[in-house]
Symmetry: C2
Subunit: 449 residues, 2 copies
């Protein structure tokens, strides 16, 4: 332990101070309580997965962003000479790294469901909260290690799952006091719209362009698509779709199997939210990822420029990549890091969030420490958080200590207090002082709980 | 996503099923509640640390067990030719891996304290619960990814911290209903004993031999030490120490500065536990690690062969390796994985542990799904966990689903129930049936909370 080094974090990673952990826990606990009430159960999977589980699931770009773990021991021993002499990093990787860090919680879920299918009761409603890792270039708000918070239902095609997951969005954001709008669309609706333009030849391009509507606007989307040589009629149609003049209720939409499915799903879905103005049909919502096949969501915070703070959708064949039977799933994901930022910006964290300890007792001299400790322990034995100050510093430091930890009261103990058993208990924020013995204090704190 | 691979875990890692997560959470929440009551605040540090932070802190053996993360991009490009052509893994590592996974929570704590010292109020009482990673050979009960659960006080030399941490041991194990004995010793006492044998020349060897006493017994320890040519008098002395005939109260012990410190600390410490038979002086307790300098603990479970289920001690100079000022610390660590095994073995987990949902409603046909969903949502809106069964399967499967999830009641909904608003609610375990409408059910469940 002799070599001294300057302490620093690996880039794109963070430490969390106690007050930050308390706030993050407040978000996690709020979400977990709602998940549980709706019958979702928590699972855990390891941070480390086999690279063969992870590779090829996130596209070439994603593969590059996987953190790969060096094999233990003499890992270069059996690497072919020509790989090393040519410094061929790409070829070398499969010889020297078998493991990696998970990139999201979805591929581990797929592996988990196939691997444990005999131990799972279906429909499988699980939630999972934990860190994931991506070797992205770090920038403001983007980290190499960050949390995901997912709930999914696997093995049920019922649209009531979508209704339920939307209720979860509403309930979580209501509990966190974040004003939101829930944007809803259906991948088959977008698919069906594609049918009307160049006989469906550029459906994928249309969906990709719609995905940018938030950034470039309707005109930007149409301008981007115009390079495919669309007719004026086709451009008008797309403009009407994006503005909502044409929507899933139009009769033409229903004249294909996919269109009919989109119409039925969306009609039934919105039928459950007729009194809920926060849930809206949003035709430009496309969601980047390929694998969605039904209703899709994004949640945005009203009045805060932040992008989406939650998202989700229905997908098919989650488990196919691991040889599982064809299971439909639907899931949502809360953007914890952004929710944290929104709550800071809107000042939504409760004041009392880190209040584990009610009172700090400060012994004035070593001779009264034992008496002081006994008072503290009396409160603790009754379930009250209490502390004895064991630093040897100035009075201001003791106040700072109590303030920083969100402790409500402070009481100095000297020989007088030992003799009388009565303490001058100061309220840290109001500076008001009350005189109480330990029984009175105990009752006061119990009444405050 | 086309290539199908058999789903499997990386060796030494684990998935956790919902019922396992619920039990682990029960342990974590119990410990956290006690930590908080005693004024410990939670922090988080990243899983990924710079290798220069980790390397050299755990000895050569530890360095080998660090998981190292391959640099991103063309990591072989600038590795010197001679390193690669000779397949020199050891030399290559520093060129191709800058990051690693944390090996414990102690070195990250040291880094954290130095890095954030201006943001921390001292004495710093923090707890940290999280996974750590070691490239150990996996075997029964030993994993490559496992949890640690630590509480430490940094920057206070007061012995009241030791008393407090011992109270935490007692309180946690009482709450978990695990019968324990807390073994206590002092590193300076062992040091002082060393003075009496060969003028202190083999003190380190004596401590190392004492550490094995649980496995090889007193005779084994003495036999091991006899190779250093001890006199009969010295062997007798060590036998008396190990059996407790000689202890920290003996006057000879106090005739050195270290011995006096050990005597004073232990006397004051045990003075606080005179009525607590679970806290005992245990002269053979040595704790393997070098860095302890004061009182040390190990906690064992009475009647279960499991090794220690918690441990700790006082140490100096935690932060010195990162250029921090000399800060004394004292900390404890709960062996979560072993506590889990003990609780399984002694059947100590409460039955109701995963009970988030009170009732499962099963719609008999699609036409009653909306009605059923409305009933479920009515309960949820009042804070009651409830589910609608959305799988399309046999009645037995519905019961299995409810049973597996620890749901208490089940109610089938058909046209009759829609018409009358009265449900036959079956208790899953007793199979008793009651007839209730939704208001009556709501009141029943609220009264049960």
């Amino acid at each position: 332990m002799s070599q001294k080094i300057k302490p620093s974090l690996s880039k794109g990673t963070r430490d969390f101070l106690p007050r930050e952990v308390a706030k993050r826990n407040y978000i996690f606990e709020t979400i977990k309580a709602v998940f549980r009430k709706y019958g979702f159960e928590q699972i855990e999977t390891p941070a480390i997965e086999r690279l063969e589980t992870l590779t090829g699931k996130y596209g070439d770009e994603g593969d590059k962003l996987l953190f790969k773990i060096l094999n233990s021991g003499d890992y270069l021993k059996d690497v072919p000479d020509e790989v090393l002499t040519t410094h061929n990093s790409q070829l070398a990787t499969k010889h020297i790294a078998e493991k990696g860090l998970r990139y999201d919680l979805t591929v581990p879920l797929a592996r988990y469901v196939v691997q444990h299918k005999s131990e799972i009761t279906f429909p499988f409603k699980r939630f999972h909260i934990g860190p994931v890792w991506r070797a992205d270039r770090p920038q403001k708000g983007r980290y190499q290690e960050f949390y995901q918070c997912d709930a999914d239902v696997i093995g049920s095609t019922s649209l009531w799952n979508e209704v339920e997951l939307t209720q979860i969005f509403l309930e979580v954001y209501k509990a966190l006091k974040i004003p939101v709008t829930i944007l809803v669309n259906h991948r088959l609706y977008l698919q069906r719209i594609g049918d009307f333009v160049k006989q469906g030849a550029i459906t994928a391009e249309i969906i990709a362009a719609f995905d940018k509507c938030d950034k470039i606007g309707i005109d930007g989307v149409l301008n981007e698509l115009s390079k495919y040589g669309l007719s004026q009629e086709e451009l008008n149609l797309l403009r009407n779709v994006l503005s909502g003049t044409i929507n899933y209720l139009n009769i033409e939409i229903q004249e294909s199997e996919e269109g009919k499915k989109a119409h039925n799903d969306l009609s039934k879905f919105f039928g459950q939210f007729t009194n809920e103005s926060a849930v809206i049909f949003y035709p430009a919502l496309a969601r980047g990822l390929d694998y969605y096949t039904g209703i899709i969501w994004e949640v945005v915070c009203n009045g805060v420029q932040m992008g989406s703070i939650a998202s989700g959708g229905r997908y098919d064949n989650l488990t196919e990549m691991f040889g599982g039977q064809n299971l439909s799933g639907v899931g949502i994901s809360f953007g914890i890091e952004r929710i944290y930022d929104v709550m800071e910006e809107l000042n939504l964290f409760p004041d009392t969030i880190s209040q584990g300890v009610k009172i700090l007792f400060v012994p004035r001299e070593p001779a009264v420490e034992e008496f002081t400790y006994t008072q503290v322990q009396t409160l603790r034995d009754a379930g009250i958080g209490a502390e004895i100050f064991l630093g040897n510093v100035k009075k201001q430091k003791q106040f700072d200590y109590a303030t920083a930890k969100g402790i409500l009261y402070i009481a100095e103990i000297g020989q007088d207090e030992v003799a009388s058993g009565v303490f001058r208990v100061k309220n840290i924020s109001t500076r008001e002082e009350i005189r109480q013995n330990i029984d009175e204090l105990l009752h006061l704190f119990i009444s405050q709980q």
